[in-house]
Subunit: 207 residues, 2 copies
Amino acid sequence: MARKPAEQSVNRLDILLAAANVFRRKGYHGAKMSDIAAEVDLTAGSLYHHFPDGKQQILIEVLNEGLDQITAEVQAVVDDNTLMPDEKLRKVIYTNILGLTHNTSVAAALVFETRTILENPEARKAYLKRRDSFEQLYTHIIQEGIDAGIFRQVDVPIFTKTILGAHNWVGVWYREGGRLTGEQIADEMSNTFLAALSPVQVPEAKH
Amino acid sequence: MARKPAEQSVNRLDILLAAANVFRRKGYHGAKMSDIAAEVDLTAGSLYHHFPDGKQQILIEVLNEGLDQITAEVQAVVDDNTLMPDEKLRKVIYTNILGLTHNTSVAAALVFETRTILENPEARKAYLKRRDSFEQLYTHIIQEGIDAGIFRQVDVPIFTKTILGAHNWVGVWYREGGRLTGEQIADEMSNTFLAALSPVQVPEAKH
DNA sequence: AAAATAATCAAATCATGATTTAATTATACC
DNA sequence: GGTATAATTAAATCATGATTTGATTATTTT
């Protein structure tokens, strides 16, 4: 019969967080199991009690947790039908960036370590599917706005990747206690992208 | 007395390019010296003839070469005084993105492997200085445009990082033979950022 | 064609770090 | 209190991969 886990012992989530921190500092390959273990006052071997499948499994779960979390938050905004596309996009950007700045370790893992997980064929497929869904949240809003005539005609996939690239990068350079808060950064960036979608005439390139 | 290097033997640049390719596929830590060597038909040991300081030195040179190259190209545009700030920014974005799409391996290294080099105290300082200079090229143009009144007031550092984040990300997702050419992507993205800088009124956020 | 140096290789080293194993200790359940 | 299971550890394994070493082969220079 199942029994309740001990109260004071480390749990999986603690370890995932610890791992994300170490990954951020040293990268996945540079992170020793003993580094992760030390972060939660364990020895390397003990980690295998919680994650029998070892190091890679830990990374996979860090990324899945992180992506699911941010997806859920963004999804909630998307589902709010009281918002117009422009308000929705602003709020989504805001939510996404705050999510990143509030958990920079996981954010960095999502940027830097995704490639590692992709080398694992099983994990790869599932992960890419998740990531596509996330990207879809953005493309939908943008397309909606274009269809409604409140955004100018842009190439939706490229515009989406432009936003996401800018976001991802925030997770890399943002430091707590810097010149601007996460909120201010989110404001500034949502202004930028909404201005970029403003349906006024844009002088065309001639090269 | 110095003698000319043998004609047919591999040279340092070949190796750097090969290394960048392997780094792109497997990441720095995942790349074996033997992988890099195989790419140029050598054995692992032979690489030490060309790079006595070993693997990390190879990475450092890949990044330095890559950054210097792209910096030089962008600098050339910045130095062209016949261009107005908006034209200049458009051209800089264009140049930068084409640089990335034309050498995706190095581009990916610049995004993913910079962290590795930063752990090396000596390389760190020099590299950060270079990277700052590069960023300055963008901030200067943007500030110029604002001062000239043809760009709206944005937070220049954030806007710069927004552009650079979007650019970096191109190096990650771009694939030769995809739906759009590098030129089309560059066009689309420069339209985006110029629109974002257009000095029309932007509806303010209220949260 | 010698002599000198460059380029390369195959086979050691050497270090590191993930994972396994065999206990040991702690906690929950009855 | 006693037993089953969870949590943890210390000490092996085991594998991998960077680097070194001591030849061997190529190329250049004179």
